[in-house]
Structures are given as structure tokens and as C-alpha cells.
């Protein structure tokens, strides 16, 4: 099949990355269709909605480069499959990763299906990751730009999903993408990159969450001394390793969140970021996704949060949907976040962190 006969639906967000993605595919001769996804309605009392502005940028770029463009509404799917999970995880005292879930359920499921129904051969996005399809099957590799690599968020994509996906920016550095946007003179060439979780945007996180979940204030306890360090605003507002926003100080350096007790509604804090209470040596994880088959036990490297340096680990497959990951020592490994496994540049797979241990002993992160 030649590129001319290959239809690629590009998920266009109105940002510079997906704009360049569409243009690059067009330059390579593909039959390109742009589709904007509306996943969240943030229309305020003045009728202002960021999606309207973003869609306007999609329109401008699509008209500039000469591709058809459409819009699709996944507000319901996003609410049911991503936002509900997000709230449920917070209720459990965990720290969810809605971007991972959005990729798994919306961008590469609902959207992918929509594109396939419209006759697409592939779906492309502006993610910084590489995917190869060849006689050895499907592989996902880190984006060449290590600073922008987004494979952490893509770890739940299955072989089947990846076989229909293209990431044309994976082999580019971000500054090169900007340069190309200028070279092509795209309407979005100087648009600021979006930050944060899409449905919260620029709003205050605490305020946002409190409008969906009742806040239940309690006590902050120094884990070492048992000393009462004052009031916390609700366990859901804190994540393991967090330093900002605790409102406590004093001699001996800053305090960090080290655990939560859901039963007593207590927040455990410790002094010093290399405090032993924050350190762990293994974890168990579920929602396991391996892109290609693996051995029952193997060595590799892993990330426990986005933009963290890889840590050497040993992985044991304990069951159908359970793995154990062991390592020398890592700080503030957080239940609800993803653990993503790498073999050099290749993504082996990923899972969601459930329990964290220090030398076989379960940490009271979620007592």
C-alpha cells in the first residue's frame, strides 16, 4: 500500500505538536484527515470555552495545509472512563494518572475506533514516542527527545492499539518541531504548550477537586515522633513525597508527605526528602500491560513517575495481572501512579502501582 492510499487520521488538539504531525504526514504523501476531540466542557458563565479556541486553531491549520477536519465529542466517554476513575482513585487515597487513562480509554480506544470506522488505516498523534511496525511485530520506543519522552503516559497501549498508531514526532527534538512549525508557517507555531491535566487547566487543583469530592480535614502527624503537626485539608489533596503546601516548617529542614491513614484520617509527614520513611525497595502492580511477551522474571529499568531517571529493577510476574518490581532504593514511589518498564530504548510495558514495600515490609502509604 502506498502512502497515497493510506488514510491517517490525526488527533489534532490545536497545539503545535499535532499541527506539525499533520503537516509531516501530508509531506510524506499520506491521505490525512484531522479530527479534534472534545473531552471536557469547561464553558464558563460567559460562554468561554478553551475547546472553542483550540478547535479554531485546528481549523486554521487544517485550512492552511489543506486537509479535511472534523470534531468528535467524547465528553461522556471521558467522564465515565477517565474522570470517574480519577475521582475513585482519590477516594481510595491514591494518586491517579488521568493522562495514562485518557490514552488507554479515549485517544487510543474511543478515538481510534472512531477513526477506524471512518476508514482510517492509522491514527497519528503528536506524542513524543516512537512506534515501529515490522516483521518482528510492534515495538514502542522512547521519543528521541529524552526531555519530552511521553512513553510513560502511553504504557497501557496494547500491541493491537499500537499496530494502528503512528507517532511522527518520535524521532524529533521539541525545538526541531517548533522550527518546523515556523518553517511551515503554521498558525500554531508560537502557541504555548498546554500544561497540567486537561480538565483542570489553569484552575486551582484543590478547589477543583473539592467541588467533586467532600474534603475531610484531619491531623498531620510526624511519623517519627508521633507529634501532632497541625491540621490537613483532606487526605486526597496530598501525594507521597509532596513538600509544598503543608504549612509546617521549623529546624531540621522541610517536611514531606510520607503516608496516609484512611481509617484515622491522618496524614503522616517526615523531615528531609531522603528520609527513610520515603524510601522503598519493591512494589507490586496490577493493570499489567506487556507490549510483547516476557519471561517470568527479568531485569530491566523502570520509571515510577514521569520524567524520573530510570532505575535498574528486577521484575517477577506473580500472576495473571500482578507483577513485583524490586530495586535498590527509590524515594516517594506512589500508589496509583504507573510503573513503566524499559529495555534500553524499548518499552516493555507498564502497570499501576498498588503496594510499596521496604525490605518485605508494606509501607503505611495507604494504611
Amino acid at each position: 500500500m502506498t502512502n497515497k492510499d493510506t488514510t491517517v487520521v490525526v488527533g489534532m488538539s490545536g497545539g503545535v505538536d499535532s499541527s506539525v504531525t499533520a503537516k509531516l504526514l501530508l509531506e510524506q504523501g499520506y491521505n490525512v484527515v484531522g479530527i479534534f476531540m472534545k473531552n471536557w466542557d469547561d464553558t464558563d458563565e460567559f460562554g468561554v470555552c478553551t475547546a472553542t479556541d483550540d478547535y479554531e486553531d485546528v481549523r486554521l491549520v487544517a485550512e492552511e495545509i489543506g486537509i479535511p477536519y472534523y470534531s468528535v465529542n467524547f465528553e461522556k466517554e471521558y467522564h465515565d472512563r477517565v474522570f470517574q476513575y480519577f475521582l475513585d482513585e482519590y477516594k481510595k487515597g491514591r494518586t491517579p494518572n488521568p493522562d495514562v487513562m485518557c490514552n488507554k480509554e479515549i485517544k487510543f480506544k474511543a478515538f481510534l475506533d472512531h477513526a477506524m470506522k471512518l476508514g482510517a488505516d492509522y491514527v497519528a498523534t503528536g506524542h513524543y514516542a516512537r512506534v515501529t511496525h515490522d516483521e518482528n511485530g510492534v515495538q514502542m520506543l522512547r521519543g528521541v527527545d529524552n526531555n519530552k519522552d511521553q512513553t510513560y503516559f502511553l504504557n497501557q497501549l496494547t500491541t493491537e492499539q499500537l499496530s494502528k498508531v503512528m507517532f511522527p514526532l518520535g524521532h524529533l527534538e521539541k525545538p526541531e518541531v517548533r522550527r518546523l512549525a515556523h518553517e511551515y508557517d503554521l498558525a500554531t507555531k508560537d502557541k504555548k504548550d498546554s500544561t497540567g491535566i486537561c480538565f483542570i487547566g489553569e484552575r486551582d487543583f484543590k478547589e477543583f477537586l473539592s467541588s467533586y469530592l467532600p474534603a475531610n480535614p484531619g491531623r498531620m502527624i510526624n511519623m517519627e515522633t508521633g507529634e501532632d503537626k497541625g491540621k490537613h485539608d483532606g487526605l486526597m489533596y496530598y501525594t507521597i513525597g509532596q513538600r509544598q503546601g503543608l504549612g509546617i516548617g521549623g529546624d531540621g529542614g522541610p517536611y514531606f508527605v510520607a503516608g496516609k491513614n484512611l481509617e484515622t484520617n491522618e496524614l503522616y509527614v517526615v523531615q528531609g526528602d531522603h528520609h527513610e520513611a520515603l524510601l522503598s525497595t519493591s512494589l507490586t502492580a496490577s493493570e499489567v500491560n506487556f507490549i510483547n511477551p516476557v519471561a517470568e522474571a527479568f531485569e530491566c529499568t523502570a520509571k515510577f513517575r514521569y520524567r524520573q531517571k530510570d532505575v535498574p529493577v528486577s521484575v517477577k510476574v506473580l500472576g495473571d495481572d500482578l507483577i513485583e518490581v524490586s530495586y535498590d532504593s527509590a524515594s516517594a514511589v506512589t500508589p496509583g501512579q504507573a510503573v513503566v518498564l524499559y529495555d534500553g530504548e524499548t518499552v516493555i510495558g507498564g502497570a499501576t502501582i498498588d503496594k510499596v514495600f521496604r525490605k518485605e515490609e508494606a509501607l503505611e502509604y495507604l494504611a
Binding site: I35, K38, Y55, Y70, V72, K117, L118
Partner: protein, 377 residues
């Protein structure tokens, strides 16, 4: 391939009308100026008003030119609800957005009753009679629905309203192309029309206000339109409006035959191709220029995109921000939200041919089998 089946959204400008506008473009004066150039424009403008009045069975001083039917509907609703103190108003659950949203906006100062509709999209006359009270000042009814083509029982409605103190406001935007629209027969106090649905340019509407009817004005300024709508008169567009109405009226019967054939061909072809669908409402109580179809195996959003990719331009629901589609409140009022999410409006014009209908049916068949064979249904 490019098949436009969205004539209820808007229509192309008639070439003859466009030519006549250009031929009269030298009458550029301001009709309010008292010099000769102004008077020339005034004469031209008032001729258009007289012609429009004639097409409706109205008197020229009962006709107000507006910028759109949306503006005309706003003038009636805001003009009446502000004229009275907390009036009671009756309307239906299936009005055009320009009526629906305007009532939503004035609900703080008016008590609005929304009449329900049956599966055919028609109101129940007893419900209307029961809703009418001494305090009811206005009844707003869409004569032909813009999404389904459903015709309301206007004779019975005006009969019921006549027995009350209320004024009758008829939105006849979609009706004029297909049905006789006469303010005396309808016995209405307000009637609104739009030019661009009748092959005139966008930017012109008509509001009929029966003599001696009182309402507040919402656009203030100069004393144009007998102080009912300020703003320099849009002479050329009013001219286009009068021509468009005349053309639509004189070709009504002929057009109806063409449109009926198009509609029937589409429905027959879809049946023959075995594409599962149902008609929203009943063809017996609908005009020929609109048909709204329910495709239980897909969504309007998907179908509109897939059809667009095949060069078929229809609609479904109302356009929302960010290019997405809001399910039709009309279909929802007749059935439910699920059905509204899977319904498409096809609306026809004289320019279409029966082979276009065959193409649409064949493409829908392709789309249907494509989804079915890939396990998407």
C-alpha cells in the same frame, strides 16, 4: 461528488435575485434622508415592503424588515415579555433556538409553559386550551419544524388562541417555502420569516406585527420602521426578500412535486438497499422539503463525518462550540435522547436530482456494511 441536502439550514442565492440587486445598487440613498436621492431609495424600499405585505395578506405598515428571523423572534418575545408585568407565555418544546433560547433568557420575568409534542412532533390542542389563562399574553408556535418538517395544526391553534386574550406569534421560516402563509387565515398577531431560507442573501428577515398591537422595542435609535426597529434600512436586501417570497410563492406547487419525488426516492432507495432506518415523525404531517431519519446502528456525529467524507452534506442536531453536535432537542422531545443522538436531517431543494438521492442511499449502504463487517455494529 458534492450533494448538498441541507436546504433547511440555508439556500444558495438565486441568480436572478442577485442580478436584480446589482441592477438596483445605484439606489444607494438613505431612505430617511429628505433629499431626492433619499426619496428615490425610500420609494424603492417601500415598494419592497408593499410586495412583502401582499405576499402575506398584510398591510404594508404591518411589515418590519429585520436583520434575521432570529432578530424578529427576539423582538416579539422580548418586546412582549417586557411590555407586560410577569406575563404568562405558552410555547412548545420543539421551537427553533431563536425562540427556545430567548424564552430561556426571559424566564426570570415571564412564566413560560412549554407544550409537549407527540411522536409526530405535534402539540395537543387540549393541552394548549388548558394552558391558556387570563394572564396568557403570548403563544409562540413554529408552524413547520425546522428539524423534522412537522406541520402544526395551525387552524385549531388559532381557533384556541382566538378564544383567549393572548396574541399569536407564528414562526413561519420553514413554512413559507411549502405552505400557504397568510396572516388573515392564520389569524396571527406576529409572524416571522427569513430571507436566506428562500434563496435571498443572509441578513434579512421579516416581522409582521398586526395593527394596533403593543410591544416594547428592543433596538433603539432612529425612527425607522415606525420606531419599531432602528437602523438604516437595508434597501437592497429588502428588495431581495420581496423577490424571494414572490418566487417561492408562485413556484410553491411545482416545487412541492419535485421535493416530494426527492424525498420518496431517498426513502425507497434506503429501503431497497436494506439500510435500517426509521422516519422521525410521520410523513403525512410533514412538509416535503425535510425528512429526519433515525439510524439506530450509528450516531449523528459519526454519520455526518462519514457522509461529509463521501461528499454528502446533511445535518443533525445543532452545531455546538468546538465543531461538535448537540443532539436535537426536537427529536428528544418526540422520542428520547438516544434517538436524538442517532438522527440525521436531510432537507431538499429544487436543484437536486433523483440520482443524488440514489447516491446518498448507496453511500449509506456502504457505510452501514463497512461498520457491520468490521464488527462496529
Amino acid at each position: 461528488m458534492s450533494i448538498y441536502v441541507d436546504y433547511a439550514a440555508t439556500t444558495p442565492i438565486d441568480k436572478e435575485i442577485l442580478k436584480s440587486m446589482l441592477d438596483n445598487a445605484d439606489k444607494f440613498g438613505n431612505p430617511s434622508s429628505i433629499h431626492r436621492i433619499g426619496k428615490e431609495a425610500k420609494a424603492f424600499y417601500e415598494t419592497s415592503r408593499k410586495n412583502v405585505a401582499q405576499e402575506l395578506g398584510a398591510k404594508p405598515d404591518e411589515i418590519v424588515f429585520t436583520g434575521s428571523a432570529t432578530e424578529a423572534n427576539n423582538m416579539v418575545i422580548r418586546g412582549i415579555t417586557s411590555y407586560y408585568d410577569n406575563p404568562h407565555i405558552i410555547t412548545t418544546a420543539v421551537e427553533h433556538a431563536s425562540v427556545k433560547e430567548t424564552y430561556a433568557d426571559v424566564e426570570k420575568t415571564a412564566d413560560v409553559t412549554y407544550l409537549s409534542v407527540d411522536e409526530n412532533g405535534r402539540i395537543n390542542i387540549d393541552e394548549l386550551r388548558n394552558a391558556l389563562t387570563e394572564q396568557t399574553k403570548l403563544v409562540s408556535i413554529i408552524m413547520v419544524n425546522n428539524e423534522t418538517g412537522t406541520i402544526q395544526p395551525m387552524a385549531e391553534i388559532s381557533e384556541a388562541v382566538k378564544d383567549s386574550n393572548a396574541l399569536l406569534h407564528v414562526d413561519a421560516v420553514q413554512a413559507f417555502k411549502q405552505l400557504p402563509v397568510n396572516v388573515n387565515t392564520l389569524d396571527c398577531d406576529f409572524l416571522t420569516l427569513s430571507g436566506h431560507k428562500l434563496h435571498a442573501p443572509k441578513g434579512i428577515g421579516v416581522l409582521f406585527i398586526k395593527r394596533n398591537t403593543h410591544l416594547n422595542r428592543i433596538i433603539t435609535g432612529g425612527s425607522q420602521e415606525r420606531e419599531r426597529r432602528a437602523g438604516t434600512e437595508n434597501t437592497l436586501y429588502a428588495h431581495a426578500m420581496s423577490l424571494a417570497m414572490h418566487k417561492a410563492k408562485t413556484s410553491r406547487e411545482e416545487t412541492s412535486v419535485v421535493l416530494q419525488a426527492l424525498k420518496e426516492t431517498l426513502l425507497t432507495e434506503l429501503q431497497q438497499q436494506e439500510v435500517p432506518f426509521k422516519i422521525n415523525g410521520s410523513a403525512r404531517t410533514q412538509t416535503n422539503h425535510i425528512v429526519n431519519l433515525y439510524f439506530p446502528w450509528s450516531t449523528s456525529e459519526y454519520l455526518l463525518t462519514a457522509m461529509d467524507m463521501a461528499g454528502i452534506y446533511a445535518s443533525g442536531g445543532s452545531a455546538c462550540n468546538a465543531g461538535t453536535v448537540q443532539p436535537s432537542h426536537v427529536i428528544e422531545a418526540m422520542y428520547d435522547e438516544d434517538r436524538a443522538r442517532s438522527s440525521i436531517r436531510f432537507s431538499f431543494g429544487e436543484q437536486l436530482a433523483e440520482k443524488d438521492m440514489k447516491y446518498i442511499a448507496a453511500k449509506l449502504k456502504d457505510i452501514y456494511t463497512g461498520l457491520d463487517s468490521n464488527g462496529f455494529i
